[in-house]
Structures are given as C-alpha cells and as structure tokens.
C-alpha cells in the first residue's frame, strides 16, 4: 500500500470520526427537550462527574496554584516584586489553568470511563438492544452524560480556581514572604471588573464558559468513541484511547479559540 493511499485512508477515517462525533453532538442538542424525563440519570452522572472526581481535582488544583506561585515568585523575587504573585496566580488560574486542568482531569477520568462504558455496551450488543426496543441510545445514554459534564465542569473549575489561588497564597506566605491576608485582598482586587455589565470578573466567567464548552466536548467525544467501539476488548481499549487523545486535542484547540475570541477580539 502506497504512502498516498495510507494518507488518504487516514484522512478519510478521521473525517468520518469527526463527522460521527458532530452528528452525536447535534442529535444530543435535539434531545435536550427530553431532559426533564432524564433527570434521575443526569443526577447520577453529575454525582459520578462532580463528587467522585472532586478529591483528585482539588489535589491537582492546590499543587498547580503552588507551582505557578513558586515558579513566577522565584523570578519576581529577583526584581523585588514577589507580591505580584497575588494577581498573577488568580488570573492565570481563572483564565487558563483552572478550566484546562479540570478538563484534562475529566477527560482522563470521566471521558475515558464513558468511552469504556458505552464501548462495552456496544460490543456486548446492549446498544443494539436499545435500538431494537426503539430506545434512542443518544437520549438514553449520551444526553445525561453531556448535561452532567456541561454542568459539573464549570462547577469543578470554580473550585479549582479557588483552591489553586489559595495554594498560591500558601506558597507566597511560606517561601516568598507575601502576607496571606494581603495576597487574598490583592487577588480579589485583580479579578474585579469595574464597569462591566456582567457582575462577575471577566477572567472568571470566561474561564467558566470555557469549562462549559470543554465539558460538552469531553462527554460527546467520550460517548461517540464508545458508541463506535467494535470487536471486543481491543475495540473498547481503542475507543478509550481515541476518546482521551481527541478530547485533549480539542480542549487545547477550543481553549485557544475561546481565548482569541474573548481576549483578542473582545479586548482584555
């Protein structure tokens, strides 16, 4: 098989995967009207996404805030402005680090689990069983998962922003000589958005909006990878691998697009 043919086949496969995933997204959006009938499953999924991943998310968050504070603080100490970490850490947590870290953790834990769960159902004919019972797998399985991640990803991100910022304050107090009280009041000031129509700091709500988009992305990619799984355990494994890989790629691309849209087009 020639290189050209291999490249063509690779492109065709990826276009098919992308088309299928977009199709699942659109079908999910159409099914949103049935959400009131799926509240129980949605709450179950919210518990899995939110409560069960909270400990790991918070551990990563606090250490991320500490690393950001330490790395920037060491450099800032040389020019005698280590107290600037009080604005750098919260802004970087809210703008980028919070939603990005939350999304990566959710892609690795929840997104992969969704792909494995639906993949196993797919190879054991459970998805087919739903179809032959006239039960739409998108409404029954995908919708609750997408809604759960769309809701919980921003909530977890808010926790990550908060805990990461506190982590930065702890490092400031211990290693950089920045008073914790001062750090917190500076952090709150740096996030304020006086005169803005939305009564929330822009850095904060843009971060939450990104997390909302990331949540939908992770769930749709995870579910579609699972639904496409074929051929037993190997197929499920490949589906999980595909889900995590594609989610991470899309998180980075969409993160860039959102930053460009809100901060470059929209002004800082």
């Amino acid at each position: 098989m020639g290189t050209l043919e291999l490249t063509g086949r690779y492109i065709r496969t990826n276009v098919q995967v992308a088309g299928y995933t977009v199709g699942i997204l659109l079908r999910t959006l159409v099914q949103v009207v049935f959400l009131p009938r799926k509240w129980r499953q949605t709450l179950d999924q919210m518990y899995v996404v939110g409560v069960q991943t909270l400990p790991v998310v918070l551990i990563v968050a606090i250490f991320t805030g500490m690393i950001v504070a330490l790395q920037t603080g060491i450099e800032l100490m040389r020019i005698g402005s280590s107290q600037s970490i009080a604005s750098i850490v919260p802004i970087s947590m809210c703008r980028e680090m919070g939603p990005f870290i939350t999304a990566i953790i959710l892609a690795a834990t929840v997104g992969s689990a969704m792909a494995a769960e639906l993949g196993t159902m797919s190879v054991s004919e459970e998805i087919l069983a739903l179809e032959v019972m006239s039960v739409d797998p998108v409404r029954y399985l995908v919708l609750p998962r997408v809604v759960a991640l769309a809701v919980m990803c921003p909530i977890l991100t808010a926790f990550v922003d908060l805990v990461g910022t506190i982590g930065g304050g702890i490092v400031g107090q211990i290693h950089l000589g920045v008073d914790f009280q001062f750090y917190i009041s500076q952090a709150v000031d740096s996030l304020r958005a006086p005169g803005h129509t939305i009564p929330l700091p822009k850095d904060f709500y843009v971060g939450l909006f990104k997390a909302f988009i990331f949540g939908i992305t992770i769930a749709v990619i995870g579910c579609s990878s699972g639904l496409r799984a074929k051929g037993g355990a190997l197929g499920v494994g490949q589906g999980v691998q595909r889900a995590v890989r594609n989610s991470v790629i899309m998180i980075i691309i969409l993160g860039y697009v959102a930053t460009w849209f809100f901060y470059f087009l929209g002004g800082s």
Partner: protein, 242 residues
Amino acid sequence: MILLDHVYKSFGGREVLKDMCLHVARGECFVIMGRSGIGKSVTLKHVIGVVYPDKGKVIVDGMDVPNAPRKELSELRKRIGYLFQSGALINWLSVFENVALPLREHKMGSEEEIRDRVMEKLRLVEMEHTADVMPENLSGGMKKRVGLARALVMDPQILLYDEPNAGLDPVMSETINHLIVNVQQKLRVTSIVVTHRLGCAFTVGDRIGLLDSGRIIEEGTPDEIRNSVNPLVRRFVQGVID
C-alpha cells in the same frame, strides 16, 4: 407477515446474503438453521431494520423496512421482540429495571401497571424471584430468560430469537426450547428462530429453512427436513459427509 425478497448483503467485499428469499406467515414459527457465521443473525437484523440490504426487499407487516421513515420504523420495532444471543441486559440495571426499560421509556402505563406487567412476564419465564438481582449475578440461561421477558414485555406480534441456546448446557437448552414453544402457543406470535442446534430447530419450528451460501437452500416442516435427500441438508442434519 415477514418477507425477504431476493436480498443481497455484503460486508467489506464479503457476500453474506446472496439472493436470500424468506417468507414467514403470521403466527408461524420459522427456524433458520445453518453453520456459525453463515448470515443467520444478519438476516434477523434485516427484519428489525438495523442492517439494510444492498439489494432486494424486506417487508414486515406490509412495511418496506429499509425505506421506512424513522418514526414508522420505531413504531414497527415496538411490535417486535428480539432475544439476543447474550441476553444483552443493561448491566447497571436490575432484572426488574431491565424488563421495565422499554415500558418506562415509551411511557406505557403508570409505575404500578408497569410493575404488574413486568412481574407477569418474569413469571412467564419463571424468573420472578430474581427481580432485584443484577445481571452480573445471573447465569447464561437466566440472562436469556430475562432477555426473553424483556422481549415479551411490550406484547410484541413478532419475536426474533438469535441463537437462544448458544452457550447453554443441554438441560437449560431444553428449558429455553420449551419456553419458546410455550410462548408460541400462548401468544400466537410470528417468530423467527436462528440457531445451529438441531434439537432447538426440531422442537420449536413449524417450518425450518437451511441457510447456506447466502440463501435458504431448502425449507420444509421438521419431518421434511429430517428426511431430505439434499446432500447439504443431510450433511447438516445427520452429520453425514458425502
């Protein structure tokens, strides 16, 4: 009535069904017999509309299945029960919830009515004592019986059985065979049973068709199949190598 008219189906260049013709009358139990991997399950999937033919017609209760609008196909599927090889029970739902699933999803009655209907079907397959059990704690035969209860819960007019005895010991196989006969006699549904087990075919079938080379090569009553002189049928039924 179920009709497959000169159906052709290929997967990745491999022709599975080739000029396949099948006619099952209302209230009849037709058995499709044949070696593993010969296209028996693919035939069933054509009837339920999850696999479409490359060429030919599939008519179920007067509906042209491959060309049916999504909504009509969905309504047709509600009138068809399908028993999967593995049972295909949803693994995080209890036995009761699995059987209740189609009723709840299609809002067919109050919770009390659903409970009564589910328990009635579980009693029919003698599995009422497992209502709260999770599928992982059931044996292969029990999963099949629960799968059958789920297939029956919508009171279908057509029942499709995909290898109902696969992976079962002879005693459980016989139990499933009698269940199929029992359901057939009580409910007078139209059934297609796909199997490679002779015992199953001869016990449950009103008519039997042998699938080979992508089409039914011979069909008849159990006695006609038993006494067939067709070498392919003889080879399959009697294990004779000519």
